[in-house]
């Protein structure tokens, strides 16, 4: 079926299989491989993108469900070559290790800060509780998000 997707500020006209998941269209059709697949059933959060302001698991959304909606992926976080303050903070805090959870983690954090620019530590933890990370022990990730919230 023919659909329009608005991804990172660009509009794409695509002919997609109605059964195709959003993650597959992002990765295979648009070559936005920053969005990762870790489990395929919404348990790990590696595929998190922001859909009309909401953090969603793109493995649980069909591409056609995202038609005409605004999608933000990790590739769209930087503006005019300038990294988003969350990306900078993750780098500075050593919150990135293997990096596989990082895009999804950043998108969950971004969705939180859009809605709630000054979250408590507990709110930060809950916002990324659906994003598994096996490397960092989460402390540096929480600290990185907290710093951005404090500075804004």
């Amino acid at each position: 079926m023919e659909i329009s997707l608005h991804v990172n500020g660009k509009t794409y006209r695509l002919n997609v299989d109605p059964r195709k998941r959003l993650i597959d269209v992002l990765r295979d059709d648009l070559n936005l491989t920053g969005t990762k697949e870790g489990c395929g059933e919404g348990e790990c959060g590696a595929c998190t993108v922001i859909l009309d302001g909401q953090a969603v698991n793109s493995c649980l959304v069909l591409a056609c469900q995202a038609r005409d909606k605004e999608i933000l992926t990790v590739e769209g976080l930087a503006r005019n070559g300038e990294l988003d303050s969350l990306q900078k903070s993750f780098i500075e805090h050593g919150a990135v290790q293997c990096g596989f959870c990082t895009p999804g983690m950043l998108m969950s954090a971004k969705a939180l800060l859009i809605k709630n620019p000054h979250p408590t530590e507990q709110e930060i933890k809950e916002a990324v509780a659906g994003n598994l990370c096996r490397c960092t022990g989460y402390n540096k990730i929480i600290a990185a998000i907290k710093k951005v919230a404090e500075d804004s």
Partner: protein, 769 residues
Amino acid sequence: MSAMFKLVGKPAPRHDAWAKAKGDQLYSDDFTMPGMLYGKALRSKYPAAIIKSIDTSKAKALPGVHAVLTAKDVPMNVEISKFGQMKDVGGGFEGLYKVLADGKVRFKGEAIALVAAETEELAEEACRLIEVDYEVQPGVFDPEEALKPGAYIVSSDEGENESNLIMESHINKGDVEKAFAEADVIVENEYRVPPVDHAYLETEGGVAWVDDNGVITMRVGTQVLEHYRTIAKVMGLPQNKVRNMSVPMGGGFGGKEDITVETFLCLLANATKRPVKMVWSREESLEVHSKRHPEILRYKTAATKDGKITAQKVEIIMDGGGYKLLTGWVQMYSTVNAPGCYNIPNVKVDSYSALTNNTPSSANRGFGCCQANFASELQMDELAAKLGMSPLEIRLKNCLRNGDEICTGFIPQGHIALEEIAKKAWEGLEATGPKPDYVDGKKIGRGLAIGMMSYGRLTFMHDSSRVGLRIELDGSVTLRAGVPDLGGGQASVLCQIVAEELGIPMEKVHPYIMDTHLTPLCGTTTATRQLYMSGNAALVTVKVLKERIIKKAAEMLDAKPEEVQLINEKACLINNPLKSVPFVQVVGALSNDGVELFHEGQFNAPFTDVPNLHDMKGRIWPDFTYSAHAVEVAVDEETGKFEVRKVVLCYDVGKAINKNSCEGQLEGGCVYNQGYVTENMGWENGITKARSFAEYLIPTAVDAPEIETIMVESGGGLGPYGAKGVGEPADNSIAPAIVNAIYDAVGVRLKEMPVTPEKLLKAIQEKNK
């Protein structure tokens, strides 16, 4: 000394952090190639069965299917794996590695056939069309049962088909029986530890193709680049015809230490002459890749009434699962670490490992050490409780100190900081305030555990590493290293060392890593060895170039070489920094003189002979890293649920070369093995019940405790600048500290993990009866 460092010791962002934060980093699944096919493995439905026949005709006839392979299509289907670059050591160490099942199926999910097709869906359909005639066997799922005479034999392969015993190993020091006869107190307990999945966020995967010169080439993330040698054997090719242009892993933790998709991909690419991609599903990953060894550990400890341990006797039974893989190596870690990090005059350890029809066991961060540490640290608290001593007191009374020998009689060369770090961790927790009885209706408890774990491989494996450097004419540096980067900053730290020595910014050193045809081989990213081995190799290499640069700079500055230093992209006089020449000019002058601006250097670990497994003596590893975890938990006495509230961890890291990376390892390891206490594969007669992240629950951001990290920098390590390795030791003593803290809270100590709310509640209720 540290004041002299410009970069070492700083929390430098890693070279790859930007690409990862932007989503630009390409992992195994992020490559596609023109004409690429999809590979899929057909896996056994049963944990134990005899394959009577396989009919692939229907699958082969399906349009869009390009290859269907079974064991008979593999040039060398059974290979005795040498695991990287080690020499032949014989015995139970060399694991039989089989590409595709033939004869007996040994575990559920073992690969039986491979398919390459034009789409993933077609490949799956082709797998469904393969008809396998199984004769289901009873199997054996308990390692103690497997070792009994008359047990079901797991393997049908030569050398393994007479007994399920993989290896036995023994330590005998002093006279334990005499010590037990003379003891004031004796404590005896049995401990059981479960399998653990690595649960890296990235499952196993990659792409392979045959290049225009007939070289089988792949992009597969692996902890062991040197597997290209085994793959060449499997393919019947010379080693220089197999190449892995490897990619960074989305986590490894030991789970990408054995071969995963490499042989499957290479066989399919070779059969179809098309690029092939294979990526395992989460379910496949949870079910089939190797797990941490489940173990039964029986302890008998003798002590005087004032708490000095006089004897420790340990029996260990390890479940190796369906294939040996690294069981023999893991067994060395469990066996030698069984007595714990204590100075005990009389020790006896007897360990046995068995094949069973469970998912194979192999490397998992901690590699046999954390099993033994769990048991020995619970045993210490049991002893303390019996003697009325505090957990800290009993440990300080017995822990190893400089000059003490371990149970094999070896005296560690590196600094032993156990006393200091045990105190610092415990006092750090106490400094957070007096322990409340209850918080939010939950009972509070505090616990302590300490530990030691080696860094660097077993010394009888004769380990080495190499790093290559080339100084470019603009003063930048290209570093080439076959260092698999699984996210610990393994490559970045090498750049930091080189930049430090040459007095240039870290950004000026670019790493090209992980290509078997182009990078010097660094050995495996396992055994907490990369900083120790490749860090030293980088140091050896850069020092050769540094000497050439300093010599030339001295000439240019009209000084002696010992008067010149490299700093801020200049060569200058130590006593007169204003007298200087730019680094890039010295490089230009050397080039003009025809002096080599490149070098590849090697570092060798200490080498020993293979120990006598019936009486293990002497050095087994280069050195150890010492750990301490102090933990506060809150237990809900009504439900048995508990949470880890705070952790104060203290390590002697020798020297933290990259502070962020070092802390990151320690915190990450802490939460990784916080999960050891509760994670549950749900094995039942060879069937894995936890087949998704909805069932295999690893700690989330909400579960992770607040961690205070204390790093002691004694400088007493064998790595560059006195550093010790921390990757695996990072997860060593947290799990027993949690279980000991639960005991402090509610007075029950569960000696078997996982600690589920049901088990804990039952134990609390029984105690309160």
